[in-house]
């Protein structure tokens, strides 16, 4: 990759060597045993995108099978395994660790002006746990896979002959990875903030990672014990969830969703944080409603623990509970909407630049709004009875998970790519790919809203002839998505070799990660930093010669405390 002797654009990293975190230390072991948060982040990124590819292949196989009713390319049993694996891989291996572990790990210490996260060894342990968990999951897929759906609902999961134990064991280990990352972020934000950065001078991405981390720490252990009980159920027969042994399968559903609903916010909160950063930078304007966005992140984290029962409306839960959970579910709409309106208000009368990251922001706003609003149909009791377990639900959560989280993740990758690897990608192909993803996504999933409201049940192998046009449109959409991702993989990899050298601050962000070299040196900063207003875009001016944004007052971000130990 980037040669050591290459000319360095930035005045900051004027060190004679031009060393950066990618070139400090050579060989695979220097990566596998690194304590550098940036390297751990890159390893996470590679592995997580690999999982995304795997989950995507499963998705394309599912869509291909659904091209026609009955058998198209696989048997019903294989199909059941395919949708289970698509869900399990995408949720546990890709989307939950996705933004915090891959992007958060890189950006969080940089935004704090710190040299690393507070607990670097734990950070590495988190990555190793991910590797171990992913390996167990892959072994499980090879030895027989699972056909329970990614939720592992009892009693089917205690009776099916597929590899439930190894898959849940994998998810259990992955839980440790998630807990360690979250715990580390909370500690880092508490103890490593630089001089001058009070809580309300933190970039909003850090607020969102903080609230995400709270959920990771509080909810993941409950999934851990749930999966452990499921494993004990299958291996020992403890009967906690088995009605034949005096247990209660609905208790499993309560346990499972007590984690898995907050987990939905583990996925979306960091995505919202990315949007808050990007929308300000690419509108050339201070973020609107900073405090409200920060508080709303915390509010969403708190509310996330109070709504799990809306997954159990049809499971025989009492009517009173249904009403309470339904009402609490609606309250989540308030902080979410506050955020969306704040982003729109940030764009209002801004100097909007339609660079690739901003295209993802616009996609996000559009798709997340649809995803959020359709959530209200599922949160209200009467309509949910009709829509429960139909494609409407599938479309809804894909609009939130893909249209929200994945789109923001992609926006974040494009935004921080120059910082991570010191290279610019092809803007032209990035825009083409962003547009194709938007079109392909809507074609794939909007049709599913229609199908679902007409009664097409989810997870079915076969379907009535009348649904055929919708299924075929959806499948075509998924192929467009596949092509768009191939284009993206090509131009991103190409940029690593042939890409233009990235300046220190190509977009004009005022947060601290843009105040160091691209890519940063191993210890992140040459000076001790201070926390200034992260949205003071006007403190920067564009330097035409280098294509770089520089501070009008270059000394302002360095700590005046020199030499004190």
């Amino acid at each position: 990759m980037a040669e050591g002797h290459s000319a360095v654009v930035t005045p900051m990293s004027g060190g004679a060597s031009g060393e950066n975190y990618l070139t400090t230390g050579k060989g695979p072991l220097s990566w596998l045993f690194t304590l550098d948060h940036k390297r751990i982040s890159v390893m996470y990124m590679v592995c997580i995108l690999g999982s995304f590819l795997l989950g995507g292949v499963f998705a394309l196989l599912i869509r291909t099978e659904l091209w026609s009713p009955g058998a198209t390319i696989m048997t019903a049993d294989t199909y059941n395994k395919m949708f289970t694996l698509h869900g399990a891989v995408m949720i546990f291996l890709f989307i939950i660790p996705g933004i915090p572990a891959a992007l958060g790990n890189f950006v969080l210490p940089l935004m704090l002006g710190a040299k690393d996260v507070a607990l670097p060894r734990l950070n590495l342990l988190s990555f190793w746990c991910w590797l171990a968990g992913a390996t167990v999951c892959l072994v499980s897929i090879v030895v027989g896979a699972v056909d329970t759906g990614w939720t592992f609902y009892t009693p089917y999961s205690t009776t099916t002959s597929t590899a439930v134990v190894s898959m849940t064991l994998g998810a259990f280990i992955l839980g440790f990875s998630s807990i360690f990352t979250g715990l580390n972020f909370i500690v880092t934000i508490h103890t490593m903030r630089p001089e001058g950065m009070t809580w309300f001078k933190m970039p909003l991405f850090l607020w969102s990672l903080y609230s995400t981390a709270i959920i990771q720490v509080l909810a993941t252990p409950v999934l851990g014990i749930t999966l452990l009980l499921l494993i004990a159920e299958r291996t020992l027969g403890v009967g906690i969830f088995d009605p034949a042994l005096g247990g209660d399968p609905v208790l499993y559903q309560h346990f499972f969703w007590f984690y898995s609903h907050p987990a939905v916010y583990i996925m979306i909160l960091p995505a919202m944080g990315i949007i808050s950063e990007l929308v300000s930078v690419f509108s050339g304007k201070r973020i609107f409603g900073y405090r409200m966005i920060a508080w709303c992140s915390i509010a969403i984290a708190v509310l996330s623990f109070l709504v799990w029962g809306h997954h159990l409306f049809t499971s025989g839960q009492s009517g009173l509970l249904n009403m309470i959970f339904s009402a609490l579910t609606f309250t989540v709409a308030i902080p979410s909407a506050v955020k969306v309106f704040s982003w729109l208000a940030t764009m209002y009368k801004g100097a909007i630049s339609l660079a690739a990251p901003m295209l993802y922001v616009l996609s996000f706003l559009f798709l997340f709004a649809i995803g959020g609003l359709t959530g209200l149909f599922l949160g209200s009791l009467s309509t949910d009875i009709h829509l429960h377990d139909t494609y409407f639900v599938v479309a809804h959560f894909h609009y939130v998970m893909f249209g929200g989280t994945v789109i923001a993740f992609l926006g974040g990758i494009h935004y921080w790519w120059p910082k991570m690897f010191g290279r610019m990608y092809s803007e032209f192909w990035a825009r083409i790919s962003a547009a194709l993803i938007f079109v392909g996504f809507n074609l794939t999933f909007f049709t599913q809203f229609v199908m679902g409201s007409h009664g097409m049940p989810r997870r079915y192998y076969n379907y009535l002839e009348v649904f055929k046009p919708y299924h075929q449109a959806s499948t075509v959409g998924s192929y467009i998505l596949g092509v768009a991702f191939m284009i993206m993989a090509y131009y991103l990899l190409h940029s690593l070799v042939r890409g233009e050298k990235a300046p220190e601050n190509p977009w004009g962000g005022a947060t601290l990660e843009w105040a160091t070299a691209s890519p940063p040196i191993a210890t992140n900063f040459e000076h001790e930093m201070v926390g200034l207003d992260p949205y003071d875009i006007d403190s920067l001016r564009f330097d035409r010669e280098t294509g770089n944004y520089v501070r009008k007052d270059p000394g302002s971000i360095f700590s005046k405390r020199t030499g004190d130990e």
Partner: protein, 304 residues
């Protein structure tokens, strides 16, 4: 600048921290957060305990007769003493008293081992009498009689014979089929009234439990009075008992490993400089393990 900056720093200070205070705070906060996850981890089991106890109190009243209160109390005292020695160890580390620190760590380790020894005695007693988790639950007549319970003869006979025969050659029966209760449990009135004309769906083997029967007050009331016999789903108690104490036992073992690690560090003189954070953190963990046991003792042994 960055290179020479740290040359005369404390060697215990990691490169990314500004001073020891920041490092200590980070490590301490990390440990507290980890303990929060531990509490939530056990919280799931406590939650299961509450659900089953509220819906089937008779099962817990029945089950607790088979736990040895004396041994439980001894173990509680043992663990509380080990908490004391761990706290003392922290004090010794703060005061740089290497010998006392070592002594306290060894004492804590021995007390933890004693706890596990007593637990082994309890477990093996239950193993011998078939007082095990759901699918292996098959108490022998003596142990039930000893505790003052009458059990329908057929129930015991069947249970014993099925266990004695073991699985028929080559045939792996699913755990559920090997259960003795299926036919004899008093809780299957549905069985009698079921009219094949009306429903072709067989009744559940033991009737639903847990949340689902919360509304079924009448039968719960009836069961509550009939504590002189082995109540339906008594097995649930032993499932919960083994899960909770087993998981706690694993945490005790992890604590003992951590103590060994501290002993090694002490031997190497790692705490001679007064940087006691590691001892402090392990002690915090140990207190939580202790605390969880106190709850287990109250909730499992001291029902009534």
């Amino acid at each position: 600048m960055a290179g020479s900056d740290h040359s005369h720093h404390n060697p215990d200070l990691a490169h990314h921290f500004e001073n020891m205070d920041q490092q200590r705070q980070s490590s301490k906060l990390g440990m507290w957060l980890f303990l929060v996850t531990e509490i939530l981890f056990f919280g799931g089991l406590f939650c299961a305990y509450v659900v089953y106890r509220v819906n089937h109190p008779e099962v817990f009243v029945f089950g607790h007769h088979f736990l040895d209160k004396t041994l439980g109390a001894v173990n509680t005292v043992v663990l509380i003493c080990s908490s004391l020695t761990m706290a003392w160890a922290v004090r010794a580390a703060q005061l740089k008293q290497r010998t006392i620190l070592m002594l306290m760590l060894v004492l804590s380790f021995v007390l933890a081992g004693t706890f596990l020894g007593v637990k082994y005695v309890e477990y093996s007693h239950k193993w011998h009498h078939g007082l095990l988790w759901a699918s292996r639950y098959a108490p022998d007549a003596h142990i039930l009689a000893e505790a003052g319970f009458e059990v329908p003869e057929a129930h015991v006979e069947e249970a014993v014979s099925e266990r004695a025969e073991g699985a028929p050659a080559g045939e792996t029966i699913p755990a559920i089929e090997a259960l003795p209760v299926d036919e004899t449990t008093p809780e299957t009135p549905l069985d009698e009234v079921a009219d094949p004309e009306i429903s072709k769906i067989g009744p559940a083997a033991a009737g639903p439990a847990g949340l689902a029967t919360a509304g079924d007050r009448a039968s719960a009331e009836a069961e509550r009075h009939a504590v002189s016999v082995d109540p339906a789903n008594a097995r649930t108690f032993f499932s919960v008992y083994f899960l909770m104490t087993g998981l706690h036992g694993i945490h005790v073992i992890l604590g003992m490993i951590a103590m060994l690690w501290l002993m090694k560090l002490t031997f190497q003189g790692a705490f001679d400089g007064g940087h006691y954070t590691k001892v402090d953190n392990i002690a915090l963990y140990w207190h939580v393990v202790d605390l969880i046991w106190i709850y287990l003792f109250l909730l499992m042994y001291l029902i009534d």
